[in-house]
């Protein structure tokens, strides 16, 4: 990689080009020249310079036009105009158009060197500002993820050791103490989950994800979601039965957040299910939409509570094992699904179970992916446990 500063000089007088090139000899710059605007612009696009000198008065396309096009191709390139008639007014006009500085003809080598150095310094600052801004934005956007990692790491280490202690002491501890240990594990687990959801909600606007939408296979999203909740299901001996229609068209979306939405829904189904039962996950196409139904035979939701389940901080009644949520999971889920142009609804009967239905628009103009079904491994399709 050539790390030298790159300079393009565009002027119809060859003598100017020659002398400028000569003045800059001995500096570690890459200098390219052109005698008219059109050639100059081609050069600019090719070598992507740091600094461009443009003569304002040239035959062919004007210096102002060149300035405009350089700006349009990359606004971070620093431009300096060379003005033949030493009129301040045209230089001012050029600077209004975004030129950084001007060089009145005739100029001394010293003046040209000085303005070159000033221009390159400006370029360095522009690039540095952009880099800093990007870093700041990244930090802001990823704040939740970073903080969540910092908070979760020590808690995970504690929990891991509690798991070991509980196992090592299971034979020796009296029941009361064993229960205390179990409660500690449970509360720590809640805290870990709370950190996850809370920080997720405070992180960057979910609408931002729309910028990076790509075709996403629903089957692979569901498989990942199921994989992520499998541990919880295994613990309660709940069977996850997944059936995904073959040749489903992809949806246009963000795989990560879509997976998160389904983790919330399927995770809820498991949470509110009785042990030794099953949860079904079914995906099929209907018209231009992909419908996914997640059904459980668990505690269900009272009809008076149904309208509120997708609201922030709404918490359902505890699950059969006393499991409580943060009250945010479904609210986040709804936001994610709606950001994808879809909808999520629920039907439920108290004591009989709930069915969540997610409808996502199929990606326009994209054919069904061949072998979509193969994205779901056999153990998920058959609904077997791991």
């Amino acid at each position: 990689m050539d790390n030298r500063y790159k300079i393009v000089i565009i002027d119809d007088e060859e003598i100017v080009l020659d002398s400028c090139t000569q003045i800059l000899q001995g500096y570690d710059y890459h200098v390219a020249t052109a005698t008219d605007g059109t050639t100059g612009l081609t050069l600019v696009r090719e070598i992507r310079p740091d600094l461009v000198f443009v003569d304002l008065k040239m035959p062919g396309i004007s210096g102002f036009e060149v300035l405009d096009q350089v700006r349009a191709s990359d606004p971070t390139i620093v431009t300096v105009v060379i003005t033949g008639y030493a009129t301040v007014s045209s230089a001012v006009d050029a600077m209004k158009k975004g030129a950084y500085d001007f060089l009145p003809k005739p100029f001394t080598p010293e003046e040209f060197r000085l303005i070159t150095q000033r221009g390159l310094e400006k370029r360095r600052l522009v690039l540095e500002t952009i880099a800093l801004k990007r870093e700041k934005e990244m930090l802001r956007d990823n704040f939740a993820a970073i903080v969540s990692h910092e908070l979760k790491a020590p808690l995970s280490a504690i929990q891991q050791n509690l798991f070991v202690l509980a196992q090592e002491l299971s034979a020796t501890l009296p029941e009361g103490q064993r229960n205390r240990l179990e409660r500690m594990k449970l509360r720590l687990d809640e805290l870990l989950k709370l950190i996850q959801t809370w920080l997720r909600l405070s992180s960057a606007d979910i609408a931002i994800i729309q910028a990076s939408f790509r075709p996403v296979s629903v089957a692979s999203v569901l498989w990942k979601a199921i994989e992520s909740v499998q541990q919880h299901a295994t613990r309660k001996n709940i069977h996850i039965r997944a059936t995904v229609e073959e040749q489903l068209r992809p949806v246009s979306g963000d795989e990560g957040t879509l997976t998160e939405a389904f983790v919330n829904i399927i995770g809820n189904a498991i949470k509110y299910s009785y042990p030794n039962s099953s949860v079904s996950v079914e995906a099929r196409a209907q018209d231009d939409r992909i419908l996914t139904a997640v059904a459980d035979t668990g505690v269900g939701i009272a009809s008076e509570d149904l309208p509120f389940v997708f609201e922030d901080f709404y918490r359902g009644k505890a699950g059969p094992a006393g499991e409580q949520g943060s009250g945010l999971g479904l609210a986040i889920t709804r936001r994610i699904i709606e950001a994808h142009g879809g909808s999520v609804t629920v039907e439920s009967e108290l004591g009989r179970g709930s069915t969540f239905l997610v409808a996502l628009p199929a990606a326009a103009g994209l054919p069904a992916e061949p072998g979509t079904d193969s994205a779901v491994p056999a153990h998920c399709q058959e609904g077997g446990l791991l």
Binding site: H149, S156, Q160, Q231, T257
Partner: protein, 140 residues
């Protein structure tokens, strides 16, 4: 009786490593630990391991990912099953803009979340070891 299996844990959190080590040792595995990517990679090259338990978020970022990628390129190391144990969920892909964290770096990968329940961990470990054994038998 099959010979004792030797596992390597690569994780920068010593407390977490101890929690995992105790579970694995109680199940009869020989366990070594390395606490940074460099030491981990050296350990992998120094002696043959039957399985690597790998943390993703180490050091300056997702250095576990680098280790997995390096292993895939090495013909010998690419045969070692890798069980990723991570505190970050895969769906937090925005942690690495433009570079989603995907668990399937290697054909033999599995991913579990921290903290991991002892029995679940042991099941995963033995499943991976058995799968590796079958592959080896098929190859020869």
């Amino acid at each position: 009786m099959s010979p004792q299996r030797r596992l390597l844990i690569l994780d920068d959190d010593p407390d977490f490593v101890e929690g995992i080590r105790a579970i694995l040792e109680s199940a009869g595995y020989a366990v070594d630990a390395a606490y940074n990517p460099k030491a981990g990679f050296e350990a992998l090259k120094a002696r043959p391991y039957d399985l690597l338990l790998l943390d993703i978020m180490m050091g300056r970022g997702a250095e576990g990912v680098m280790i997995a990628r390096k292993m895939r390129k090495d013909p010998k190391l690419s045969q070692i099953p890798v069980l990723i144990i991570t505190g970050i969920r895969e769906q937090i892909a925005f942690l690495f803009p433009g570079q989603p964290v995907h668990p399937h770096f290697l054909p033999v990968d599995e991913l579990v979340e921290k903290p991991v329940e002892p029995q679940f961990l042991l099941d995963k470990v033995s499943a991976l070891l058995q799968a590796a054994e079958r592959r080896k038998a098929q190859a020869s």
